[in-house]
């Protein structure tokens, strides 16, 4: 990671994930909003992502700017979901709460640890799905060509649960003795 500031480090991950950085200040509904970095989704994504650095700006100021931006988007009937990534010190709870009411808030800390940073913003990143397994085998199939009737009988009880199988098993074991009725 070459970037020197947390903001830049966040931006680099997002860009890597096919988000597009757009120039600031951002102009919406004729108003200008100055943020360290702004990104939008490039491929099939309407996301609008704002990255701020709480170390550089007061959290109150950040709140004002983000709420202003959200209102402007509403005014424009924009359907873009707004995401705020806060680097640097984590804002106080009330501030985070009021921010959460207008946008998705992700706290990235100082973004110095790459995996942690990825975790923090992962909701914006594409899913990395490993090659899925082949289909599962189908049900109970321990069958051979000359499957014994005994096996069939036992398999038939499987849906009834272990007790049903057990009861059938005991029946089957005792069955051959039915012919040898009684003690000699």
């Amino acid at each position: 990671m070459n970037a020197t500031t947390p903001v830049e480090r966040v931006v680099s991950i997002l860009v890597e994930a096919k988000y597009k950085r757009i120039s600031t200040p951002l102009a919406v509904a004729g108003m200008s909003f100055d943020f360290p970095a702004v990104l939008i989704g490039a491929v099939r994504s309407p996301d609008l992502i704002v990255v701020v650095d709480a170390a550089m700006e007061g959290e109150e100021r950040i709140r004002q700017k983000v709420e202003g931006l959200a209102r402007a988007l509403d005014v424009m009937n924009s359907r873009r979901p707004l995401t705020l990534i806060i680097t640097g010190p984590r804002p106080r709870g009330p501030t985070l709460d009021s921010l959460s009411r207008v946008c998705r808030v992700l706290s990235a800390g100082d973004a110095s640890d790459a995996p942690a940073l990825k975790d923090a913003v992962s909701v914006l990143l594409p899913l990395a799905i490993p090659d899925p397994e082949e289909e599962l085998e189908e049900g109970l199939a321990p069958s051979s060509d000359q499957q014994d009737a005994v096996v069939d009988a036992l398999l038939a009880e499987a849906p009834g649960g272990a007790e049903a199988v057990k009861a059938r098993l005991f029946e089957l074991i005792d069955e051959p003795f039915d012919a040898t009725e009684g003690e000699p």
Binding site: S78, D119, L154, A158
Partner: protein, 812 residues
């Protein structure tokens, strides 16, 4: 072209009343409705049309079919129509649902149905179970809830049913109670074999015993006269022979002969103790001597005695003669009789004298009494005329005398006497009373005297009549004199009579002895005859003339004893043989019994062994089945619970809970053979293990973990069906999670190409998701469906497609 759910129409199904018809033809379908409006009904209708069953309902209630049609449905019938594109084969189905049956056909084949139910459709009830996963594992239970959930989700429960159900075959002892016949046979077979062995041993000993007895019998038979025994020996014939040919009769005869001989010998000995021949002469001599002495005595003393007795018999005919009772007794009796007669005679004389004296006394007394009577008569005549009656009349008159005037004549008494009249009267009365007394006494005396004369007269008559007549008195006198003489004669003869008696006794003794001798001679002759008869019977020679009876009898006795010994021995042998025959029969019967028992036991054993072999085969089959099932199960578990699953789960969880330091994970089964037990654990994001999720995660994050687990299971396999149907997953996620969840859904839809159908009941969430999942590009589409109820209780579903609108706020 990947499969897409197009259209669904539901009529009178579960809580949906009337008919609703909605389009599903969009990458994302968002369903909203308050609780009970029919969201879950719509989604389960979708599952039913696809798979022909609703496993999530089935798990809750087996008889769920009955509740499938809406309760007010006409004819109890509901209907579902579904249209799908991109599937091979069927594109559309319309099936009716009654309370007892689900119509066909449904759209998916068996494996696709399984896939849908397990990995595409997260029913609300299933999610509820997912939430239970994190409860503490109950140490008493063999399965954690998670394990059960996973097994149900993947259909592993049937594998487990087989494996657990077949577990008893692993150890035969576990079959003891439940399979009593099998267990019993395991015990019985050796028992029966042991019994057969015992029977065989007994059989051998019985056969040996039979052989011994048979040998003995053969030997015995050889010693007996009969020999029709058959070859080999026929027991029936032998028995008959033995019973017919016995020697009892001969033995009886012999016994009788022996008894007779013994009696003869005994009797003979009795005879020999009597007077023998040597004595005979002296006995005869004594006899004649005694007779001579007796005759001599008779001519002297005897005659004299007889004469006396004869004379006496003239008076006393009952007197015994000496011939009748013996001389001494006859003499004594005569003497006694004579003395008694003498005494009687003198008594008679004595009384006659007394009577004579009394008669003279009486006559004198009578004379005196008669003289006194005369005197008394004179005195009575003197006193007569004085009456007692006059005295009484005068005394009554006394009360009328008050003066000297006489009350009778009225004359004055003083004129007659100087004595007052009263005194005169009383003297007169006294004189009269005295005279009366004297008369009374005289009269009594006269009567007494008369009576005593009468008594004396009467007694005199008696005494006089009793006196002996004179001639009788003379006769008695003569007889008394003669008897006195005879008495003296008898006294003299007394000793001689005793001698005579002794002589008579001596003669009698000698005569008796002679008679005895003669009787003995006769008995001896009879005995000889008996012995000769027995000798004839025994075919022996007669008694020799010189041979004594007892010697001859002893000779015969020896013969009898010898014959008895022989016959007895033969009889004993026969009895022993008969006994042996009985023994042989018994042994033979026991042998037959044993043979039958052996055959029976053998048969039982064979059938038991056969049955046990079949049971063993079945146990082996069951073992093999259990083994195979276990193997398949293990394979499946290893495929499902692998690192990929954990990786995907972690990724999904982190997206929804970015601030959570822990992530949930499955502890993977380490061996292939161990039991399937999916254990949950948490990991620190930075590495290292945490604890149980329940302890480590907040409630909201637990829900998140459950939801992401389902998504991870969906994503970890090749998507047979690219559908995700989620029923109201968000119950308690906080807002942070909801926004993350929305982003995740978008990712699943847009990036992973899943058709997402999601139902929610919260209006704000619905609005938020509607915004977040808005179409992002051309041809992207969102369908929102709002389900509610009309005033007439009919279900109303309004669906609304939202299409892409380019964003005007920020140019891309």
């Amino acid at each position: 072209m990947s499969p897409i759910l197009k259209n669904i129409s539901v009529e009178n199904f579960r809580s949906i009343r009337g008919e609703i018809n909605v389009s599903l033809d969009a990458p994302v379908v968002l369903i909203h409705g308050s609780n009970g409006a029919g969201k879950t009904s719509l989604l389960s209708a979708l599952e039913l049309a696809l798979t022909g069953a609703i496993p999530s309902l089935e798990r809750a209630e087996r008889g769920y079919l009955e509740h499938l049609p809406h309760k007010d449905a006409k004819g109890g019938r509901g209907r579902i129509k579904l249209e799908v594109s991109g599937l091979d084969g069927r594109k559309e189905t319309s099936l009716s649902v009654t309370r007892s049956a689900i119509g066909s056909p449904h759209l998916l084949d068996v494996s696709a149905s399984r896939f849908f139910s397990e990995r595409c459709y997260l029913a609300q009830s299933t999610l509820t179970r997912l939430l239970e996963l994190y409860e503490d594992r109950d140490a008493r239970r063999t399965e954690s809830r998670l394990t059960r959930f996973v097994k149900e989700l993947l259909g592993l429960d049937q594998f487990d049913a087989i494996v657990d159900g077949l577990q008893p075959v692993g150890d035969v002892r576990r079959l003891r109670e439940p399979a009593p016949a099998f267990w019993g046979a395991r015990q019985d077979i050796p028992d029966i074999e042991q019994r057969v062995k015992n029977f065989r041993e007994e059989m051998r000993s019985v056969e040996a015993e039979g052989k011994t007895i048979l040998d003995r019998l053969t030997a015995t038979l050889a010693s007996l006269p009969q020999n029709q025994v058959g070859d080999p020996i026929d027991l029936a014939i032998v028995e008959k022979e033995l019973q017919s040919g016995n020697d009892e009769t001969a033995l009886l005869t012999l016994a009788r002969a022996r008894r007779d001989l013994t009696a003869i010998i005994e009797q003979w000995r009795g005879l020999s103790t009597g007077p023998d021949a040597a004595n005979r002469e002296s006995v005869e001599k004594e006899d004649s001597a005694a007779r001579a002495a007796l005759s001599e005595w008779k001519s002297a003393t005897g005659e004299a005695l007889d004469g006396v007795i004869e004379e006496l018999r003239g008076w006393m005919p009952n007197l015994a003669t000496s011939d009748a009772v013996g001389a001494d007794r006859a003499c004594a009796a005569a003497l006694q009789a004579v003395q008694a007669e003498l005494k009687r005679t003198s008594d008679l004389f004595d009384r006659d004298e007394t009577d004579a004296k009394r008669a003279s006394d009486l006559q004198r007394a009578m004379e005196e009494a008669r003289a006194r009577g005369l005197i008394l008569d004179e005195q009575i005549a003197d006193t007569a005329g004085v009456g007692e009656g006059l005295a009484q009349a005068l005394s009554e008159l006394a009360s009328h005398i008050h003066s000297d005037d006489c009350p009778v004549c009225g004359r004055d008494f003083s004129e007659v006497s100087s004595t007052p009249l009263g005194a005169h009267l009383s003297v007169r009365i006294g004189q009269l009373v005295e005279a009366a007394g004297r008369l009374q006494a005289l009269t009594a005396d006269r009567a007494t005297t008369g009576a005593s004369i009468t008594a004396a007269e009467r007694e005199l008559a008696v005494v006089t009549s009793r006196r002996l007549a004179q001639e009788l008195r003379d006769e008695l006198k003569a007889k008394r004199a003669r008897f006195e003489e005879l008495r003296l004669r008898l006294k003299d003869l007394q000793d001689g009579a005793a001698d005579g008696a002794r002589l008579a006794q001596r003669v009698a003794l000698a005569a008796r002895q002679l008679a005895n001798l003669r009787t003995n001679d006769q008995a001896a002759t009879i005995m000889r005859q008996s012995v000769d008869k027995l000798a004839e019977q025994l075919s022996q020679k007669h008694l020799d003339v010189a041979e004594a009876v007892d010697a001859g009898a002893s000779r015969l006795q020896t013969v009898v004893q010898e014959r008895e010994r022989v016959l007895g021995a033969r009889e004993a042998a026969r009895r022993a043989a008969l006994q042996d025959v009985e023994e042989l029969k018994r042994v033979g019967a026991r042998g037959d019994q044993l043979r039958r028992a052996i055959d029976g036991a053998q048969e039982t054993r064979d059938s038991l062994v056969g049955a046990k072999a079949e049971a063993d085969r079945r146990i082996e089959l069951a073992k093999e089945l259990a083994r195979q099932t276990r193997a398949v199960r293990t394979k499946i578990v290893r495929r499902v619970f692998n690192d990929e699953l954990n990786a995907i789960w972690r990724d999904l969880f982190v997206r929804l809970a970015p601030d959570e330091p822990f992530v949930p994970a499955f502890a993977l089964p380490e061996t292939t053979t161990g039991p399937v037990e999916a254990v949950l654990e948490t990991l620190y994001r930075s590495g290292g293990r945490g604890g149980n999720p329940r302890a480590m995660l907040s409630a909201g994050n637990l829900n998140t973990a459950a939801l992401t687990l389902f998504l991870a299971l969906h994503l970890s396999v090749k998507p047979k069906l690219p559908w995700l149907v989620i029923d109201d997953p968000v119950q308690s996620m906080d807002e942070v999670h909801i926004s993350q969840f929305a982003a995740l859904l978008r990712t699943l839809s847009k990036q992973m190409g899943r058709q997402v159908i999601i139902a929610v009941h919260e209006r704000p969430l619905f609005d938020y998701l509607a915004l977040e999942l808005s179409p992002a590009y051309l041809d992207d589409r969102l369908i929102t469906i709002e389900i509610s109820r009309a005033a007439n209780e009919k279900t109303v579903a309004v669906w609304n497609p939202k299409t892409y609108v380019p964003d005007r706020a920020i140019a891309a």
